[in-house]
Symmetry: C2
Subunit: 306 residues, 2 copies
Amino acid sequence: MSIKVFGHKSPDTDSTGSPLIWAWYLSEIKGTPAEAKLLGEPNTEAAFMLERWNLDKPEIIDGVAADEPVVIVDTNNPAELPDNINDADIQAIIDHHKLVGGLETKGPIDITIRPLACTATIMVDLMGADIAKMPEAIKGAALSCILSDTLEFRSPTTTAHDRAVAETLAANLGIDIPAYAAEMFAAKSDVSAFSDAELLRMDSKEYGVGDTKFRVSVLETTSPATVLDRKASLMEAMTTVAAEDGVDQVLLFVVDILNEESTLLVPNDLVKDVAAKSFDVTAEGDTVVLPGVVSRKKQIIPNLKV
Amino acid sequence: MSIKVFGHKSPDTDSTGSPLIWAWYLSEIKGTPAEAKLLGEPNTEAAFMLERWNLDKPEIIDGVAADEPVVIVDTNNPAELPDNINDADIQAIIDHHKLVGGLETKGPIDITIRPLACTATIMVDLMGADIAKMPEAIKGAALSCILSDTLEFRSPTTTAHDRAVAETLAANLGIDIPAYAAEMFAAKSDVSAFSDAELLRMDSKEYGVGDTKFRVSVLETTSPATVLDRKASLMEAMTTVAAEDGVDQVLLFVVDILNEESTLLVPNDLVKDVAAKSFDVTAEGDTVVLPGVVSRKKQIIPNLKV
């Protein structure tokens, strides 16, 4: 039976590209048939990557069967995976997030988690000399994953190693990183096709502070004005999304990739308070700018207070 | 602050040797001060290893402080670690057991779990070319860990890679594996100093089948008669140990390393039933022999039925 390789339920570039990279490696190098799958529709940047490198969009699956062989990449959080994930035959996990707890395996398996910016960087390391055998499309996917997760090396999650791997791949492919990253970020910034609720859920993680449950959403864009033009309806949609998803409040951080700052939407006094206590800023109107804040993992979640 | 490196609460050879190996690597090669610690008294085989290779017995600690930097080896099971382990600053996990779930980290860290027989084998892999810098004592510890966890390559958990690593280490040290393993197993078989309750808890894991909670204990020995001579008092002690530890039944498997079989003590009809359903054997008296069964991980736990 072919192994299904997939990332989390909100496929960004790393969660779309990494399954393709690892499925290639398992199938073509290790001789173990494997297929990349998706647990949701890829975002616009991930879709751009697929088209740019002539990669077929992986099939979207809505669950796993009991005892089905799977490899999980770019997450170790059961909340971001099918409900019955622990019934599957989990064969490996490759990830760069903190250990959340909750995944269980039936026997000892291969687990590699590293404090790097991107799953694809870890995969390149695990492949060793076999990276020379990567076709252009797979190299292009790996490069795209690293540029996406590091925001072209601007994010504080970036390590020297992520950067070195990306620069080697780009040199090898003859890709100019600034020009290519600009194309990727433009694709990510095209959010016109999405409803307000879709935008609030697109790149979002639930996180509790004391008794308060947040949905912490970020939108990374080179065109923050495009999103902020919709702020009134986005703030309205927050109430519905929070109720439907069983959280107390949606927090939306619009990350301006090029200027390395975020704008937090401030629909009410709770969020105004969060802004003051977490980031030491006073929101005068319905938005507040957080200079330098671009990473949910390193800068938003660790500082969140109510 | 020096990093504390430790294994589980019932230190066998791998859980005593692996912390010494990794603390050496962190301190001497990576320039990160680290110290091996123990969460309990090492067993007699582990004590033999320490003496044979002139290694100082690591300090036994009874807990961790909040935010203290630690590296966990040879387990990922919170039940086998200090109660407040998730309050520590877990910096890495190196293990070869199934993922149990329950450990959580504050940020992304280094986690390496591999389906190999022994933690020390994984460490040798992670060190790469630096293994050439290992002093004799550290090589001796690594060799001991692999011979112990594989029962000198007899256990079905043994992989070709574990064996190759052990043989390289032995050749390098000028050690004759059969002679050295015999010394180790003789040390492990010397259980005269232990009370019955201590023997039942020495190498033991809790495991539930349906609503029935077992303490599944193994005693690996080259001299099963020494243990079986005590079977009457061991069976008596089972009742007390089960009550004190909140389980329904202690199962004791006396593993005959050299003859590659186990003897299960059968104190009552529950265990007689377990023997029949799990291993398809009929216990006529108060013991039953299970030919070929030497591994709790591969042969006992996966077959256990009530």
